[in-house]
């Protein structure tokens, strides 16, 4: 057995797009592979090992019966990296939490619903300690390589904590608010190099909120363009419905007088209808 760090990949409920992003890195990946031993990666290889130093965990937890497997991984790993927004935030299917589990099961399995298990969608950090989160749906491939390099060198990794607007403006992209879109860039964590706005779409908030979202600034931008914060919160449901910070932001937004949106009904945070 070589003394290179042993790396393992695991996945829970997700689309596996983040693992796939790792697989598609190509040459830089081959380069990094020389410095580690990948000992478990079900999607890519048949070997399995219970001994590893770094565990990359993709996917969120949706069933209590998956928790023991997650905890076993934590016990064995020196470092746990949450790979992507499913693991770090809950992922796009957190918005299933808007509905009762029984309703979801019945829609999917009809009168056999009782035979199946489901539960609240949560990030892995709800169950275990996470050393480094890599945000993004999917992750940004270069950030993955950067994180891995930091871990291998034993250096702390600073998770980007500026808003997407920062990267967007740095690149000189046209602000999509001017096209009448509601962009989540003002409060969303950057690190994706504003890939969505680079192509003229809006930010959907896939990397979650920055640590201290500048609620006032966000509100100003929104008010300037005649949107209510309710609307932006509704959009945040796609990626971090239960994240405490979204909740805080929702409360902060609720304080000053509420502004009605133009047009259709605004999304209410936590609404089930």
């Amino acid at each position: 057995m070589s003394n290179k760090p042993r790396v393992a990949f695991f996945d829970f409920a997700c689309c596996e797009g983040c693992q796939l992003t790792v697989l598609s890195i190509g040459e830089p990946l081959i380069e990094v592979l020389k410095h580690v031993d990948i000992v478990t990666w079900r999607e890519a290889m048949s070997e399995k090992s219970d001994e590893f130093d770094i565990a990359f965990i993709e996917g969120s937890i949706t069933r209590d019966s998956d928790v023991p497997r997650l905890k076993r991984i934590r016990e064995k790993a020196r470092l746990v990296v949450a790979l992507g927004s499913c693991a770090a935030l809950g992922g796009p299917h957190v918005s299933a939490n808007r509905f009762e589990t029984s309703e979801l099961l019945e829609l999917a399995y009809g009168n056999k619903a009782e035979q199946y298990e489901a539960g609240e969608v949560r990030p892995i950090s709800a169950e275990i300690e996470v050393d480094v989160p890599i945000y993004g749906c999917p992750i940004n491939a270069s950030e993955f390589v950067l994180v891995l390099k930091h871990l291998l060198l034993g250096r702390p990794y600073r998770v980007p904590n500026e808003a997407v607007c920062y990267e967007c403006k740095l690149n000189g992209y046209e602000c999509v608010f001017d096209k009448g879109m509601i962009c989540l860039g003002p409060v969303t964590r950057c690190g994706c190099n504003a890939i969505c706005t680079s192509r003229g779409h809006r930010c959907f908030g896939c990397r979650g909120l920055v640590d201290d979202p500048n609620v006032d600034a966000a509100r100003d931008v929104l008010e300037e363009h005649d949107y209510s914060l309710d609307e932006i919160i509704g959009m945040f449901q796609i990626y971090s419905h239960r994240a405490p910070r979204v909740q805080q932001l929702a409360e902060a937004a609720a304080e000053p007088q509420k502004k009605r949106s133009k047009g259709s009904e605004p999304w209410r945070f936590g609404s089930t209808t």
């Binding site: 796939l20 299917h93 969505c196």
Partner: protein, 418 residues
């Protein structure tokens, strides 16, 4: 002999193979799906038409472009959004990028190790770097095409119902064209490699289902056809086949004319091979693929044949787009609301998104039929027949071969319990 393979490797998602063989008789052989359901159909409800495709592509990381394409197609039909000729060409080109990237991943990275007696592609990094580089090159080139077209393969950013938030850069697209031309040589090299590999011998006659268009080999839209006879318009898929639950799976199974059918590359090549690009037909012949082929293991050859086809088709489509000149177009308006059915051929087979929208263009109902679900019943039948055929072999061999059979389907398990 009791066979139990938990969490079959080199497939997407979690599934187990269970088989019990007594005195050469197979008493049970099933593929058990244990993946957690994510309930996309339920939670996409209430989302605005502009958000649905963004969410829907997250059903699957490998076939994100297919879900995204089926989703916008369904939304466009439901809301009466007419797309331009340029958009129609882009949609076909995107599906070619999808085929090449997904098939390359499967053939080179997930299946080839089995045929070389390896447990993964990793040892090849040292022993056969040229082939590994070739594999990465094919896959990355397709990925890069998706990036140029729509911002990213997993998950696309520029696609919206009705068109694109921005069009690709013409220079970048012209460069992609040249890189695709460069792949021709890699295809020739791969043909020679594949000729040396031996696939397990196994045949079982079954029903093959795919899309069909009158004038081209279709990955995007068309009628649904079966080798058992029968042709339905996409909107009427419910008249043809149905989904049902089985006890050993968190994913649904499907049937049409008989108790199981198969979708995917093998089904498409069997049904539509005459429409393949001549170069792909040539490769088909060289590799001994004579339709109709009833061996599931040949699905991997069919995937490669389609890779060759899609590379040629993509070059032709890029030429067409570049000759017309890429134009930024306005997104056409919503003109009605109601139900719309979007159909594409994902790499793993027929994929259906069936949506209903209300008057505010919010989704009220969604039904997504995934290729892998359609294959599960057929996989179980195959496992049973194949287990019987190899029942006298040592347990380790039986285990590996049944696993290989599962991989031949290229199942997308997390996708199937969406």
């Amino acid at each position: 002999m009791e066979i139990r393979v938990d969490h079959v490797t080199r497939v997407e998602g979690h599934g187990n193979v269970l088989a019990s063989i007594k005195n050469g008789e197979v008493q049970k052989a099933i593929f058990e799906v244990v993946e957690a359901n994510r309930f996309f159909e339920a939670f996409m409800r209430e989302r605005s038409h502009e958000e649905v495709a963004h969410i829907a592509s997250r059903i699957c990381g490998i076939c994100a472009l297919s879900h995204n394409s089926a989703s916008v197609q369904a939304t466009e039909k439901a809301l009466g959004i007419e797309v331009s000729e340029q958009t129609a060409l882009m949609r076909r080109l995107i599906m070619d990028a999808e085929m090449v990237s997904s098939h390359a991943l499967h053939v080179y990275f997930l299946v080839a190790p089995d045929l070389l007696g390896l447990k993964s592609v990793v040892p090849l990094v040292e022993t056969d770097p040229d082939t590994v580089n070739l594999a990465f090159r094919v896959k990355t080139t397709a990925y890069d095409l998706a990036e140029v077209l729509v911002g990213r393969h997993t998950h696309p950013v520029a696609v919206v119902p009705g068109g694109y938030t921005s069009m690709p850069d013409a220079t970048a697209l012209a460069q992609m064209r040249e890189r695709f031309v460069g792949l021709r040589e890699d295809m020739r090299t791969t043909v020679e490699l594949l000729k040396q590999l031996e696939l397990p011998a196994f045949e079982r006659e079954t029903e093959y289902v795919s899309l069909q268009q009158p004038d081209h080999y279709s990955f995007y839209a068309g009628d649904i056809v079966s080798t058992d006879g029968g042709q339905v318009a996409a909107d009427d898929y419910l008249d043809a086949f149905s989904e049902f639950l089985v006890d050993h799976s968190t994913a649904k199974h499907c049937r049409w004319n008989r108790d199981s059918y198969m979708v995917g590359a093998l089904a498409r090549v069997n049904n539509n091979w005459k429409q393949l690009h001549p170069e792909a037909q040539k490769v088909m012949e060289e590799l001994g693929f004579k339709p109709p082929v009833c061996s599931t293991f040949m699905n991997n050859i069919a995937q490669f044949v389609e890779t060759v086809h899609s590379i040629e088709d993509a070059i032709a489509l890029m030429d067409q787009l570049l000759a017309r000149g890429l134009k930024e177009e306005d997104i056409p308006p919503v003109t009605k609301h109601g139900r719309g059915v979007g159909v594409v051929e994902a790499p793993r087979g027929l994929l259906i998104h069936d949506y209903t929208y209300d008057e505010r263009a919010r989704l009220v109902e969604a039904n997504c039929i995934i290729p892998t679900n359609q294959n599960y019943a057929n996989l179980d039948r195959d496992l049973e027949a194949f287990a019987k055929q190899i029942a006298d072999q040592p347990k380790d061999d039986v285990e590996l071969k049944l696993e290989m059979l599962v991989r031949a389907y290229d199942p997308c398990i997390s996708c199937s319990v969406h």
